[in-house]
């Protein structure tokens, strides 16, 4: 377990352990549980009345604009991480600080624009 990717082997083992816990729990469940399905039991729950129409009903998604906003800003934010580890290293100092304010200004301007366009409001 050495080298850069060696430590991710441990992460992989833990992932497998998590899957095993899930599978083991459900296996124990299978041994212990009753199984008596009836048509009524398997209907979709809708507060006790018979379900109306399809479960995947159409609805207006009001917050789809947030998805765009998120994608734009998250892509920006990803670049923060490699930058964050070196920005105060000797020789960078003020230059990177100014760059940071340029970055912040871009994001702030984006949010201000979205706010001005009223996409942050519900209606």
């Amino acid at each position: 377990m050495s080298g850069y990717f060696g430590s991710y082997v441990v992460v992989g083992i833990l992932l497998l352990a998590g899957v095993a816990i899930f599978a083991g729990g459900l296996f124990a469940n299978r041994l212990l549980r009753p199984h008596r399905p009836t048509a009524d039991k398997l209907t979709t729950y809708e507060c006790g009345v018979d379900p109306v129409g399809d479960g995947w009903a159409q609805s207006q998604v009001r917050y789809y604009v947030y998805t765009y906003l998120y994608v734009v800003f998250a892509v920006d934010a990803v670049f923060l991480f490699p930058w964050a580890t070196v920005f105060a290293a000797p020789g960078f100092g003020l230059t990177t600080l100014v760059e940071m304010f340029v970055f912040l200004a871009f994001i702030a301007l984006g949010i201000l624009y979205a706010w001005r366009k009223r996409v942050l409001a519900w209606t």
């Binding site: 899957v19 209907t43 479960g55 912040l104």
Partner: protein, 316 residues
Amino acid sequence: MLEAVLDTALRLVLIIGAFLLLPLLVGQLEHKAMAHMQSRLGPMYAGGFHGWAQLIADGVKFVQKEDVIPAAADRAVFKLAPAVALVPYLVVMVVIPVGPGLYGVDLDAGIFFVLAVMGVGVLGSIMAGWSSANKYSVLGGMRSAAQLMSYELPLVLAASSVAMAAGTLSLHGIVEAWQWWWLPWQAIGAVVFFVAGLAELRRPPFDMPIAESEIIMGPMTEYSGLRFALFMLSEYVGIVVLSALTTVLFLGGWQGPLLPGPVWTLIKIFALAFVVIWVRVSYPRLREDQLQRLAWVGLVPLALLQLAITGVVKVL
């Protein structure tokens, strides 16, 4: 070689033990603290002494329950969703240090790894919401997705502020670099991170996606038995992980006077878990538009402000 393997195995066993035990402690704390805040007693019967075995009894009950999958559901996705909600939190625990040298592995992309994997957990609730073929669940799943979108950004920005302060992404390195004066310095970031984390866990007052009195547990409406229990477990593991991350990133992890390091870490984790419970009892649920507004108009600008403060203090 053998020694290294045994060492790793011991660490993993301890992590899995914490993964199975700590959520139960937090759950029991929630039962009792919430009850007393509401002038009730909470569980008193199971196990004899103040109902200490209540959650074990619940587990024994859940494992014997029938596994009902609605006829209309998308079976494969429906069955898989609880695992997708639960397992990422276990994987995140591998990088959380509880003391000097006490961690599963020390990844040098620590924070980045944690944020990426925690985002996967929310997919479980979106999968559950869509695959149930139930109107409440679809609504709840959509709301979960919208909430993840909005609160991931302040979470990432607040976390990167700490990375800037410490000059490393490794969680172990961050705690080692931590000084007491980081508390006021990173205070805004800490609040933003904790609040955004609460929203990502869909805990009250950010529980619009599961709102039991409105859309009947949202994505979990159709779930019963052990699969439902696993969703509940993932919520409580989520509380542990969020409290632990806030502790490690903002509260100095194992650093503290007198007591040994791991004890300090646990004290801080449980204090934050208590705050999570306290907030649940104290605040009414935010409406969906208020939720989105808080993220974009409140938390994101605050996180940007924190980045500016961190940068200026660090360089000057």
